[in-house]
Amino acid sequence: MRFKTAQIRLVSSHPEVYEPCDDSFALVDALLADRSKLIEHKPKLCMEVGCGSGYVITSLALLLGQESNGVQYFATDTNPYALKVTSETLEAHGVHAELISTDIASGLEKRLAGLVDVMVVNPPYVPTPEYEVGREGIASAWAGGEDGRSVIDRILPIADNLLSDKGWLYLVTLAANRPLQICLQMRQKGYASRIVLQRSTDEESLHIIKFWRESDTQ
């Protein structure tokens, strides 16, 4: 049986916005693989950092439902065009997410702390020279600095702060990001982890890792 995710032909685009790619599909496939657990999890607030085209947050909203199911979605990006494209993609699928133009979750960290039940992140993870990170335009969609870890390493403590006690984080990483080292680092903050999906393409080896607080038995 196939479940509903965002349809590529309904995903909007812009020359400056990252188009759904192998990494985006891998993340959505990981969410699909976890679908029944996600539904049982009954999240109230879900969030995506770096929503790009909106393909992932739209798929999550289709997977878990909207207001009638008591779920709300937030999505952020630093690229204003990405938010415009995301809002078009959401609308084309008849779903809604609250969009905020911001760096990771800046502005939300105080009040949203401990409230996010599901967080999904497909970060800029490609190893690049440090000066390429966070520049304007499309390069900021992939440029990840040394080991591709610059943005990831800034996101992890913020995710820790935002996640609720039962919160789950799904993170896309590349082998070059040293995913095991990320898991160890999160372990020190009290998180267990599992590789939900591993996929090698011609160019890259992707791992989608799920994190949850160890105190919370799944």
Binding site: Q66, P80, K84, H96, E98, I100, S101, R111
Partner: protein
């Protein structure tokens, strides 16, 4: 932008200690009907800063929320439907969010608040 989001946003400028709630300057508000989920409202109630919600709703033209609220009111359908309307059905489509401490203005265009900072504000 829903008032739920307004209730979760603070001024993120470096050095600001009292960045919540952001004041609202309205250009355009739209209403979009969505299903009411009582469980969602009941569980969000304790997370919402009620005073900020009342003020925000008033500043965008909705004054049907009681000044004070306590959890016992969550049994009332009338209260739930007002809370639902304020939290989820009213959208600030165009306007400005203003930092209560510095007066820094964060524009909201097409319902999307822009919280990106200039280099000297980070």
């Amino acid at each position: 932008m829903r008032l739920l989001t307004h209730n979760m946003l603070s001024s993120n400028i470096k050095g600001v200690t009292n960045g919540f709630p952001l004041r609202i300057e309205v250009e355009k508000v739209v209403e979009k009907e969505v299903d009411l989920n009582p469980d969602f409202l009941r569980s969000m109630f304790s997370k919402i800063d009620w005073k900020a919600l009342v003020h925000a709703a008033r500043s965008i033209g909705y004054s049907e929320l009681p000044d004070e609220a306590d959890p016992s009111m969550l049994d009332s359908d009338d209260f739930l439907s007002r809370f639902h309307h304020a939290l989820l059905q009213l959208h600030l489509e165009e306007g400005v969010l203003i930092c209560p401490e510095t007066g820094r203005r964060f524009p909201v265009n097409k319902g999307i608040p822009n919280m990106l900072l200039h280099e000297d504000e980070v």
